[in-house]
Structure formats: C-alpha cells, structure tokens
Subunit: 330 residues, 2 copies
C-alpha cells in the first residue's frame, strides 16, 4: 500500500510510492506504447484490468472505464491514520480509474462528435455517483491530460479518476474560499461570478442553455477557461440528463475552439465537485449552498518556473479578455 | 503599468501584462542569446540597465545586480488599489532585479567555489534589506532557475528578485500554517521540524555549524530539499556575516551533490522570508516568533499534470528518505 503524508506546514497531503525510483531512472524517457499495440484500443479488452462499466450501443463499446494499471490509490484496505512523531500519515486508500474515451486511437471524442463527448460525461457522472457510496472516500477528482507529453502514460484518448480518502488541497482551498464568501455575502461566489461575467461579457466565450464558458478575471495560465452550470449545484453527480447533453455540446465546442487557435498544444482539464457529503455532514453547515461544481481547462503553453512555484503568483502573458476574444471568434 | 488582479475565490494575486501575446506567439520558441554575445557576461556592462550594486574585488566585479530588462513589477508609481465590480486589482508596483552570479558564462558559482556562492548570498542579503525600506513593498522573493529550459531568459548563471506590493499566495500559506501551529503549540513549526529531523536523521542530508539541509517529510517533488538556519529568525536579511559564509558552504555543497546524482537536470530554488514588517505591524502579533526563513530547492525531474494541478496533491516517485540517502552519499 502506498502512503499518504501530510505536510504539517501547509496541510497538503502527498502520496509517497512504495518503490522509489533511483536518480538514473528519471533520465530515461518513459516508454510510450507504439500506436500499433495500444492497450486501450478496441480489440485489446482482454489485456486491461477488468472493466468497471461501459457504454455499449450498436453491438460495440463507445467508452469504457477500467481500473488504472498501476493505481496510486487502492480500493482494498483501511485508512490506517497514524501519527509519526510530529507528522501524520495514512494509507493511500481510494481508487484510480481510466476512462477510455473512444474505441479508436486517433480520434478525440470531439472529433467523433457531441454524442461521444456526452457519452464520456455520462461515465463521469456514473463513476462519481458510485464512488460516493464508499464511506472511506472523501472526494472524487476527474481529470484529463491530452497531448503527447511527459505526464500522460497513454496517447489513446482517455481521462482519469482519482478518488481519495482526503479532500485534496486545491479543492479544499476552493471550498474554503467559497465558504468565506458565502459567510460574508450569503451568496454563492460562483453564481456571482457568472452573473458578473454575463453582465459585462468581455470574458465570456460561449453560452448554452445550461452552461457558460468564460476566462476568469484572474486565472493562472494564458487561455485558461472555466465552464459552469447555470443552475446552482455543488455536486456534479446531480447533473440531469438534459444538462449532461448540454455540457457535451459546450465542451465539444470549446475543445474544438481551443484546438483551432492553439493547434496541438497539450491541455489538461479538471472537474471540481463538492466532497462526499456523508462523512462531512458535521462540517457541511451550508448544505452545499456555497460551492458550485465546474470544469477548469488549461492549455499547457508555458511551464512554471521558480517564481510561480515559490510565490504562487502567475504572470499572464495574454490577458483573459484577449484570450476569450480569440476563443470566442475561433 | 502591468496589472495585479486578485482571484476572488482563492485570494491569489496574478500579474496581467499590458501587451497580450497572440496564440501564434506561443508556438515560437523564445530566443536564447547565443553564447558569444551574452548580455550578462563581463564586458557587456554597458548593454544592461544601470547597475544597482555589485561585489568588486581585485579590480573586477564578481557578482552584480541589475534591474530586469523587462520588469513585471515596476518601481515607479502608486498602488492604485481599485475595485472592478466584484473584483479587485492594483498596479504591479515593485521591483524585478537580476543577480548576475558570475562574470563568466560557463561557470556556476559553485564551480568557482564557496567564496563565490557566499558573494551571491551577500548580494541577496543587501537587496532584501534595501527593498524592505520601500513601504509599498510587502514581500521580496529571491529565486533561481538553473538549466536550459522554457522559463529562463538567460543561460548565464543568474538568480532573480521579485519585490511585490502583496504577500504572494505561497508565502502567505506558509505564514498562515506556521502561525496556526504557533497558536496551538507556542513553538515555531520550522524549529520543531528541524529538531525532529535531526533526532531521526533519516531525511537529513547535510549539517553545518549554522544550517541543516533535509528532505521534508511530505515534499511536492522527488529530491526536493530544504535548508534551514539553526538559529530561529524570520527575516533572511538579519543573517550574520558568519552565517552567510556558513550558508555559502552548505549551499555550494548541496548544489554539487545534486548535480553529481541528477546530472544536468534543471532545478529551481526559492528563498522564503517573512514579509516586510512595517506595513504588517498590526497583523504581526507574534513578532516573527512563528516564521523561520529558509531555502527550498526542487530539481525539475517531472512536469505536473492534470492530477497535481487539479488536486494540489503530488505523487512522490522517490521517497524523501531514499532521496536524502542518495544525496547524503553523493
């Protein structure tokens, strides 16, 4: 079992793997599967861990979920919370899953179309709802890394799930920030932001019946944008089927817009949803009124340097207003 | 004047530059100066902005400080704090300086020796002490990016200074975490960590008269390590000359150790010191008892992906205990 450790200064949990890499192992570029023998392609189903769920239509699968080949967070075991001198650790209990987004290697879901993007979103919803039932799991993060780069193990279109026994620091910060605002204003900060953006419109990129895509006022990265549901809801898994289809529409559109102006730039997105409520009941005074699930997308145009890493401040070399103009007009 | 904007959700200030890059400008790799015409080398002094300070011995300069060629934070102007609907912004007042660490292009200070590393540290001390006098400046960050990579503008050995009118988020988090610990324990968390590390010794890499270098219990990156002064002090500029020389010794040693096992891996380091006290007097109840200046060093072995970026959690592929063993024995 891998180990979770808490940084006593910042309260950040990190995962320490059982088997350490030696310094020289970092020098070797990680092996990418050759395109002819991709383990995630249709036809390789027997070579993956046992399928968790899938969407099957017309006698074939269109998207499927499998356990990660080498999970950091493992589903078996207890939390094992332990003190170690002044430090705290626990077992890396949870789940790591892979969502295979298409049967075909060379097409992204948005190339297949809105229907395919929506199928993937249905799997997201199903998995978050299912993982919530495990009382050891506090939070489920869905994320995607797209583009050939150091941090993706597969080039096949896929996204990933990390279900963790702790609320990750980034999510906790958003929850805390949103709660602070709610305490002061008695309104959801995300709803307020959305209203403000729609009113002034200079950072709005796209709007559908149920969703808004905009560049935030103070993002971290150039061309970063967020997608928010218009209906206030803290938990992604409570999305309706109609909203899921509408989200498929705007996500498909936005991914195409992004590619049309940023070409093959790798990107990542994450879906931030409220922690599982059952174990948090005592702390959840506001019943979800203060948090609002959303998707954040960042193109990987720049690497962070010592300044960003040491300060937590970022330099925007393209203003959010200009970025959203480029994306809007794409 | 560039603009600082505050993310209302996380309280993070980001800098938005006046002139936006177009999408296609990101595709062009940034120009690196050819080694024959480096603007930071000895002999090119007239091509840089006017020198701020320097260390001259034996009729030549050994290290010098100049303003950044294209500063994000500018020394002229007022803070201009303004609301913009629900958002907050201000002018990017402050300072960006470059510390040229050697007259020679191809030698890092540690190649020249402990004396040269110490000269650079003396310049750090002088600049932090000087910038503290400007009441608009709340914090001074010193950082270094070493190695040919996307985020360094120069290949010549140099470090940088960013003096900002706000306390950067990362520093604020450390201050808040340390304060919380102090409120609970009435002891400095850094002093406690250092005692704990020295007692168990499995993460200690090196110890000198005045400093300890160790891998933290829960770092973010493999082979990350910290250097702390044994004497409690919140402000780097209060370092004595004897301590500066001792820091030169351990920093020189650690940089050589790192290079001997990680070869040409790029790295960054940052110096975290307390904010300027004058403007913070009202909030500084503990008179600096709760913060402890230190240097954090991260080798750039891995890029962060969607998981790290979306969760704020990190996967340690080499345990801190193993990393410190490699470094100790190097």
């Amino acid at each position: 079992m891998h180990e979770l450790r808490k940084d006593p200064l910042l309260g950040r949990w990190v995962a320490v793997l059982n088997e350490s890499k030696t310094p020289s192992e970092y020098a070797v570029p990680s092996e990418k599967e050759p395109e002819t023998s991709c383990i995630l392609c249709a036809g390789s189903e027997t070579r993956t861990p046992k399928e968790i769920t899938a969407i099957r239509e017309d006698g074939k699968w269109w998207a499927r979920v499998i356990p990660n080949f080498r999970p950091v967070f493992q589903i078996e075991g207890d939390l094992g919370r332990t003190g170690l001198g002044m430090y705290d650790k626990m077992n890396a209990v949870g789940a790591n899953e892979i969502i295979v987004e298409t049967p075909e290697h060379t097409k992204q879901p948005e190339d297949i179309g809105v229907d395919q993007v929506t199928r993937v979103l249905r799997l997201y919803r199903e998995r978050v709802a299912d993982l919530e039932r495990d009382p050891r799991i506090r939070h489920t993060l869905i994320y995607k890394d797209s583009g050939r780069s150091a941090w993706t193990s597969f080039t096949h279109p896929h996204s990933e799930i990390a279900a963790t026994p702790v609320i990750p620091k980034q999510v906790k910060e958003e929850l805390d920030g949103a709660k602070q605002y709610f305490v002061y204003k008695e309104r959801c900060i995300f709803c307020d932001m959305m209203r403000e953006e729609l009113r002034f419109a200079d950072r709005v990129i796209s709007e559908t019946r149920d969703f808004v895509a905009f560049s935030p006022f103070a993002p971290r990265f150039p061309f970063e944008f967020w997608m928010l549901p218009k209906r206030h809801s803290c938990a992604f898994q409570e999305i309706t089927e109609g909203e899921t289809e509408d989200l498929g529409l705007i996500l498909c559109l936005m991914l195409k817009k992004m590619r049309s102006i940023l070409k093959e730039t790798p990107y990542s997105y994450v879906l931030h949803t409220a922690p599982n409520r059952v174990p948090r009941r005592n702390h959840w005074h506001t019943l979800g009124e203060d948090f609002h699930w959303h998707i954040e997308i960042i193109p990987r145009l720049l690497n962070s340097g010592g300044f960003e890493w040491g300060s937590g401040c970022y330099i925007l070399t393209t203003s959010p207003e200009d970025a959203s103009k480029y994306l809007r007009e794409a």
